[in-house]
């Protein structure tokens, strides 16, 4: 058992898979010599050499075109898109090519590739470098979408992503890079599509993802002090989605709250609210409530970024108000 930061866990997860399978390669901007702009790939060049850990010019399309071809021809590549905001210039190859290859070749060609990316806010990087874009990705059939919230899960979900026969977008919560957590020794492999109950409770279900998970847990602590026993579920994987765990929790508590970093419209919580309304309406003891960033571009100023992102206080207040109503 070792205490690792979230950022170190990224390198640990990739190294675990590169050591296991020589077809796994890593490619991206400044990921080799520099060890990544967020220092998430430190030591990989030294350990696995320049043939498997490759720096590229500043061209996201070139990176993803290369990994698509590599995956087609037998490798299991991991690409880094430095900031997930840059998927904006990648959508043709991601949405139209990578996501559809298995379908359009009738299963003859699958693409076992991972695109990892720093995602979301918390670092005051402003409107173009702070967005939480999981919901952009989950709107495209053919992609799997995961976001770990702990160092241990970074390793386990990275392994699951690399071993997936189909493309996975792996969103690293930038705001969690300095977070420390215990990571067991030895191989860690998770299963995609499994949520984790971080805190059991009986009065309300709070779903959270990535950076919002620690905030939801802090909110649950506040609520416990006020006599409300909240269950916190870390969604972990948006596609595939663990509806069984979510629906079971709603059946238990009757109340559902989602805590989403993304702007409000069409966030992942809206899809879950729809599923719950469809499958568990008669188990609901009140309206599903979404706690999100408002529908605005993220401000860069510290005070304003703090203001728009859902905080533990906001989550606790929203849940308490709803339950007392």
């Amino acid at each position: 058992m070792a205490e690792l930061t979230y950022r170190d866990a990224v390198a640990r997860g990739i190294a675990q898979e590169m050591a296991r399978d020589e077809r796994v390669v890593l490619i991206g901007e400044d990921i080799a010599g520099a060890g990544g702009v967020f220092k998430t790939t430190v030591g990989l060049l030294e350990r696995f050499g320049p043939r498997r850990v490759v720096d590229t010019p500043i061209s996201e399309q070139a990176i993803l075109g290369a990994v698509m071809g590599a995956a087609m021809t037998g490798l299991r590549p991991v690409a880094e898109i430095m900031f997930s905001d840059f998927f904006g210039v990648c959508w043709d190859i991601v949405a139209n090519q990578i996501a559809k290859t298995r379908y359009m070749t009738d299963g003859q060609v699958s693409l076992p590739l991972v695109v990892k990316s720093g995602n979301g806010a918390g670092l005051r990087f402003g409107a173009q470098h702070s967005q939480a874009v999981e919901n952009w990705a989950m709107a495209i059939p053919g992609l799997k979408v995961v976001t770990p919230s702990t160092p241990r899960d970074v390793v386990g979900l990275m392994a699951a992503a690399v071993r997936s026969p189909d493309p996975v977008l792996f969103f690293e919560a930038k705001g969690l890079y300095p977070m420390k957590g215990e990571v067991p020794d030895g191989e860690i492999v998770d299963e995609l599509g499994k949520a984790a109950v971080r805190r059991p409770g009986k009065d309300a279900t709070i779903l959270a993802l990535g950076l919002m998970v620690p905030r939801a847990l802090a909110a649950a602590d506040q609520l416990a002090a006020r006599g409300i026993d909240a269950e916190v579920i870390d969604v972990r994987s948006l596609v595939p989605l663990d509806t069984a765990t979510i629906l079971a929790s709603v059946a238990k508590t009757g109340r559902l709250f989602t805590v989403e970093e993304n702007p409000r419209l069409l966030g992942w919580g809206a899809e879950i609210a729809s599923i719950v309304a469809d499958e568990a309406f008669w188990n609901l003891d009140g309206p599903v409530q979404r706690i999100t960033t408002p529908h605005v571009p993220l401000p860069a100023a510290d005070s304003l970024e703090d203001l728009v992102l859902p905080s533990a206080d906001l989550v606790a207040q929203t849940v308490e108000k709803a339950l007392q109503a």
Binding site: P200, T245, L247, A251, K252, G254, N283, L284, D285, L323
Partner: protein, 377 residues
């Protein structure tokens, strides 16, 4: 001079001719603000609250609770008189007319008097905090009420903020000693020939974390999986929310949580609503679940009656060998918990593929760890 406002039964929809007063929220002598809820009514189309058309004091209530009257009927009068109430006919005479200029002052004085007179009774009549009567109930509580026959307005909530929780409603369901069931005893049930019975042995080891995993629990899961038969035309109506378990119809049982349904099954005859529901039969092709308490090791194989397309029998939970996966040494044999479930169906009425869908759905749900979490405290 004081003005009297009449409250009448409103037209709530073109085809609604009458309405029932379900509850008066204000009593004679109480003050009411304009737009404040005065009473609750129920019609064929909608249950709703009727707001007071004007501020004032309730002078008269002309229709009692639970009475049904035609649209347009006079329900109550609201007026501005300070005292004594309930003498609307004498109103014009009781308030002396005054010249225009002092009228405003007089009206203000009268209003103050009304406030003074009514403030005390209203305060006394207000329920203590935390015991306020709820006017609307959540989908969850409504389904639970339909299933148990409990009148929700009579139940006190124990959840946060005085909210109702499942246990409040289930606890309020008064068990009635069931009449001996004679219908099945009178004549032997004719049995479908050619029926197929599939026995499923399911690893329910993970349910050991649930207190006392009994047949009622397994029957609840089996019953809730019945909508998996929905795709077959033969059972379209049977896949509705009503469930038939142990010969009793549980209205809207399919919409209950596993926990609530389990408790409902374990507590067979409910209050009056439950009993009357038991007298009905599920419309269309029947799917039944049998899960009466049995010795742990037993298996219940239900006979398939001719009007049944599928009958599910649930046995007890027992200890037995289970295979657990182990990454290092390969599969390992361990002592776990097993349950055997029998699914009998008529292949002529139910396509075997549909039966298979049900069977695999049921095994999946019983094996899913989410079930234990749902049932955990």
């Amino acid at each position: 001079m004081s003005r009297v406002n009449e409250v009448t039964m409103p037209q709530l929809g073109e085809t609604v001719a009458e309405g029932t007063v379900t509850r008066w929220l204000k009593q004679v002598g109480e003050a009411v603000a304009e737009g404040e809820a005065l009473l609750e009514i129920s019609t064929d189309k909608v249950d709703t609250e009727i707001p007071a058309p004007a501020a004032g004091t309730v002078l008269e209530i002309l229709v009692e609770e639970d009475a049904t009257v035609p649209v347009g009927s006079l329900l109550a009068r609201i007026g501005q008189v300070a005292a004594p109430v309930a003498v609307p006919a004498m109103q014009p005479a009781s308030v002396p007319s005054a010249p225009t200029a002092p009228r405003a002052a007089a009206a203000a004085a009268a209003a103050a008097a009304v406030t003074a007179v009514t403030a005390a009774p209203v305060a006394a009549a207000a329920p203590p905090p935390g015991q306020q009567r709820r006017h609307t109930f959540s989908p969850r509580m409504r389904r639970l009420a339909e299933s148990t026959g409990v009148d929700l307005s009579s139940v006190k909530g124990s959840g946060p903020g005085g909210r109702l929780v499942d246990a409040d409603v289930l606890g309020a369901a008064t068990p009635v000693v069931a009449e001996p069931v004679v219908t099945t005893a009178v004549a032997p049930i004719p049995v479908v020939s050619g029926a197929v019975t599939v026995l499923l042995e399911i690893d329910v080891t993970h349910l050991r974390s649930v207190p006392d995993p009994d047949t009622a629990l397994l029957a609840a899961v089996a019953a809730k999986a019945i909508p998996a038969l929905r795709h077959s035309g033969a059972v379209s109506t049977a896949a509705g929310p009503d469930l038939e378990v142990n010969g009793q119809v549980i209205p809207r049982g399919g919409d209950l949580t596993v926990r609530a349904l389990r408790q409902r099954i374990a507590q067979p005859a409910g209050s009056s609503a439950g009993s009357s529901a038991a007298a009905q039969s599920v419309q269309g092709a029947r799917v039944t679940v049998h899960g009466t308490p049995t010795p742990a090791a037993s298996v219940q194989i239900p006979a398939l009656a001719p009007d049944c397309v599928c009958a599910v029998g649930v046995g007890g939970v027992r200890q037995g060998p289970v295979v657990i996966a182990d990454g290092v040494h390969g599969p390992v044999l361990a002592v776990g918990a097993l349950a055997t479930i029998a699914v009998s169906y008529d292949p002529a009425a139910l396509p075997p593929a549909t039966a298979t869908t049900y069977i695999s759905t049921l095994s999946q749900r019983l094996a899913d760890r989410a079930l234990a979490r749902e049932l955990s405290d």
